[in-house]
Amino acid sequence: MRRGAAAIVGAGESRIGKHPDSTSLGLMAEAATDALAQAGLGFDDIDGLITTPTRIDGWMMPCTVVASALGIQPDFFTTVDIAGASGTAMVHQAAMAVASGACHTVLCVAGQNLLSGLSRDGAVAAMASKGSAAHAELEQPLGPPIPALYAMVAQRHMHDFGTTPEALAQVAVEARRHAARNPNAHKSRPISVEDVLDAPRIATPFGRLDCSLVSDGAGAVIVTTPERARALSRRAAWLLGSGYAMGHPWVGDSADLSTTAATRSVASAFATAGLAATDMDFACLYDCFTITVLLELEDLGFCPKGEAGDFVLSGAIGAEGALPVNPHGGLLSAGHCGVPAGLFHVVEAARQILGHGGARQLDRTDHALVHGNGGIIGVHCTLVLGGEDS
């Protein structure tokens, strides 16, 4: 994908949190309507659609179900299914679609009423059963909730590099501090490092506050051609670079859990963009668990390997830090609705670049890195977004 091949011209989201009246399709309609309004476009302008599966609904052909629900008949449509990396991958695939001429304006939309549709206990059970990130024969019989699989990643990182529980906790604290400035965040009550360390244990070294939320919610972005983006004469978030990398499908099938394949996806993305980690003004990083952010900070090149704990403890990922991370509060505090939630990071990065950050608007938003990972930090898709196309 060449630099500047497509641009995000609108980003929106539904109500996020606990909304007992919500449905996955209703939440997606809210997010799509918001994104179109931000772009100054209508449903009639959309000729491409990309979505993700939901666990609750179990549809065959989710993209067709979503198109029908929104009353559109796009010329290009597909369902992206690489778990937490789907959000960033949707944008990459939308850019490929418009660059190829298959269509000109793609709605990327995904959402799920994960909390109201399943309950928190139900969501935990569903995510650990058939079709989950745990291997059916070798891992599921042992009884790992998904947090246990990431907890083993954290435990190894602590062994290899001396990473501390306090460093993990600081990630959750910063997320909550950011969420306090996001009126749509699911959880915004401030928490301390002690709160995180004292929270009920889930799977060591994780307590409850090291784990992402279970929420209802949907996100949406509009991706279009450079020509149409310029014709709209509004700010756009340009896709300057993107990259994928495949690691492992199962946690026990990884050679080294302390270093992820994100090193490769980011190399591709920066090579296309002609930029480096030091050029990024902020980052939106997939944060299903606190350890995920530490691994990403290292493997994406924001700090040396093994030093993410010190980086975070220095205050670097706060709103006033060297690299603000997840100004909206991320999966840890703004909300997490399963596979669709990777799109929230894209939505936030685009909003910041478009100047729609509200009370949490950052001062510098020329360049942003957005990263999604799927499985047990096994597959990766990285985007570099920018406020200018050149």
Binding site: V124, A125, M127, A128, S129, H135, E137, L138, E139, P141, L142, G143, P144, P145, I146, P147, A148, A151, M152, V153, Q155, R156, H159, P200, R201, I202, A203, T204, P205, F206, W250, V251, G252, D253, L257
Partner: protein, 115 residues
Amino acid sequence: MGNAPFDTVVRCEACGQPRAYPRPLCPACHSPDTVPFTPSGRGTVYTFTEVHRAPSPAFGEEVPYTIALIDLEEGLRLPGRLTGSDAPRCGARVELDASPDGYPVFRLLPEDGQP
């Protein structure tokens, strides 16, 4: 079968690499041919976690329990349960324990220099 609790473990007939996660082809050489292989059960802890929050009611009465990834001395890694009186640590030596539930259960061996 007949390899309990290592039912999925085989060795590639062509290149000899052992593997635990079932695959139709060897990830090293892409050969489809395998030969039976029973690991010794001796190895070290690559990583571990103590589970306090069961994923479903079926595991509710077992908490807390420890899940680990074990590096077997034959050069393959696989998941199992971990038991023992010592606190687990990465690198600790283990051996196969009785595994009545069909999955591997490993027992932590006493640390060197300790009774």
